[in-house]
């Protein structure tokens, strides 16, 4: 699945709900199902700053694709990052680097997940792209 396709799928899933609360309920469910990060990466080194809640993010390269795992102490943040992982994990570094995510606007959470320092969405995406950048350079 490409990044665009993954985004499309998420948009479709969210389109079922009109209500903010239902969307959040769904987000919370996503958060609960996020595969947790290996405890060894749950340290300050992997902490993303700029979030009101803590987010740990780790990535490794496997067969030329970036595999992300993450965790957060807040469940909604977990939900948000689980969406980002669905979109980015398993993609090539270059694709991640050039991706211009639109699903956030389209699932109707824009006002809530705005580039506001407290939810750290911007920091999360930045960090994921940074990983992609590093892997790209390593690959040559």
């Amino acid at each position: 699945m490409t990044i665009k396709e993954a985004e499309k799928q998420i948009i479709q899933e969210f389109s079922v709900y009109d209500d903010w609360l239902d969307k959040y309920n769904f987000l919370v469910e996503m958060g609960k199902s996020l595969p947790m990060i290996d405890p060894e990466y749950q340290t300050d080194t992997y902490l993303i700053s700029g979030c009101q809640s803590k987010v740990w993010l780790y990535a490794r390269l496997s067969d030329g694709k970036v595999i992300f795992t993450a965790d957060s102490d807040a469940i909604i943040t977990k939900g948000i990052i689980s969406l980002l992982i669905r979109v980015f994990s398993g993609q090539a570094p270059d694709d991640i680097l050039h991706a211009d995510l639109t699903f956030i606007d389209q699932i109707g959470l824009k006002e809530n997940l705005s580039p506001n320092r407290s939810n750290g969405l911007v920091s999360m995406i930045k960090q994921m792209k940074l990983y992609a950048q590093v892997f790209k350079m390593k690959q040559g």
């Binding site: 609360l21 959040y24 919370v28 009101q52 809640s53 807040a74 469940i75 909604i76 943040t77």
Partner: protein
């Protein structure tokens, strides 16, 4: 008593409260961060710009004289509001944070030497913690920090035990912005003065909830912000005893704080101007004046009574939700509640109840040392103003219960 509080008339004065957020009526419980403004304040600002706007002091023309007079009249009214002895003791700043930085910086330059100590408390807001901490680090002095008990009350005994001949200043908040605790400032000041130690009170959360009498309290400095007392942003006050302010060196340079400038040296103006550098926020002062009038008309005692009833009711309501833990349960408490539910992260609670129209603050509330002390990542804080209602509290309790169900 609070039954007689004119809540409907009061609410009508605050335009912002009558809006819908996510198709629900806004419930604004983030008053400790910043209060909303009555139409009287908004109108005063408009009127200022439509009729009086001008740079003040040195001008001789009509507008400038008029604006200067209104500005200096406000200084008198603030003197009265906190019962300072003299208008020379009222300095306009941009807010509490600036007032605190001013004192920490000027006091440090004048008095702090290596080995000296300053005493603060673990419940200080960063704005009354970091300026002292950094000043101490620069001067080779030590910041000592008194702790709290299980109910979030200051360990006064511990604080007194820290006083020694090395102590140069005690700085503490009047009311904790996280715990709501009202500190026994009068008792602490009396003890400090026995040792000749000055005391600064951070009044950011005190000024809007309690009648403040700086002479009765006998504090040496008292700081507060306009925007937390129904006035405009960008304006605040530093009160200091004349004797204390006289001895401090000026802080920022330029504007009315200057007497004469030569190429190689400068002489400074007298109080209160000595500490007012640059064009002052005349608009902010005009708005603050309207806020003072508003508070005076309602009466701080009435406000206190009504807010106490809000606090009591909200505490009972939230206590009815299983798993809710309160942070700060002092008998002497201003109208705010910090809480957590089970293992739920405060951010999650804030996000969900926001969708039900309720604005609370979540996080560390600029009091990270306190969060570390309590071993929590933050709290959910609902802070009440006199325009809040029992019905809003009912709705919050419902919303919190719903969030709990969703998030558990």
């Amino acid at each position: 008593m609070f039954l007689s509080f004119p809540i409907d008339r009061v609410r009508a004065d605050f335009p912002i409260l009558h809006q819908q957020v996510y198709k629900r009526p806004l419930v604004y419980f983030d008053n400790a961060a910043s209060t909303q403004k009555p139409v009287q304040v908004i109108d005063a600002i408009r009127r200022y710009y439509e009729q009086d706007n001008c740079n003040i002091h040195r001008g001789v023309h009509y507008l400038s004289v008029k604006a200067t007079e209104a500005f200096e009249e406000t200084r008198k009214e603030i003197r009265e509001f906190i019962n300072a002895r003299d208008t020379r003791e009222i300095i306009f700043t941009k807010g509490t944070t600036e007032s605190l930085n001013l004192v920490a910086s000027s006091f440090g330059k004048r008095y702090i030497r290596p080995g000296d100590e300053v005493i603060a408390t673990i419940m200080e807001h960063h704005s009354n913690f970091v300026p002292w901490q950094q000043m101490c680090l620069e001067c080779g002095a030590t910041l000592r920090v008194a702790g709290i008990d299980d109910r979030g009350m200051l360990n006064v005994g511990e604080l007194f035990g820290m006083i020694s001949e090395k102590t140069r200043m005690i700085t503490l908040t009047h009311v904790s912005n996280v715990l709501g605790t009202i500190n026994p400032v009068k008792e602490i000041i009396a003890e400090a003065h026995k040792h000749g130690i000055p005391v600064l009170i951070d009044g950011a959360q005190g000024i809007s909830h309690l009648p403040v009498d700086v002479q009765d309290m006998d504090c040496d400095f008292y700081c507060f912000s306009g925007h937390k007392m129904y006035g405009p942003m960008g304006i605040g006050v530093l009160y200091g005893k004349e004797k204390c302010l006289e001895e401090l060196p000026p802080y920022q340079m330029g504007g009315e704080m200057i007497k004469e400038v030569y190429v190689d040296h400068t002489t400074f103006n007298e109080l209160p101007f000595k500490f007012e550098a640059g064009t002052p926020n005349v608009e902010g002062v005009a708005g603050l004046r309207a806020a003072l009038h508003y508070l005076n008309e309602l009466g701080m005692d009435n406000i206190m009574d009504y807010e106490a009833s809000l606090l009591k009711y909200a505490t009972e309501k939230l206590a009815g939700i299983e798993g809710v833990r309160f942070y700060g349960t002092s008998d002497w408490k201003a109208s705010l509640i910090s809480f957590l539910i089970g293992k739920i992260h405060p951010y999650d609670v804030g996000m969900i109840i926001d969708k039900m129209g309720i604005a609370v603050r979540t996080g560390h509330h600029c009091a990270m040392p306190l969060m570390d002390y309590l071993h929590i990542p933050g709290t959910v804080r609902a802070s009440f103003a006199f325009y809040n209602t029992m019905e809003e509290i009912d709705w919050m309790a419902l919303a919190v219960a719903k969030a709990k169900k969703m998030l558990e």
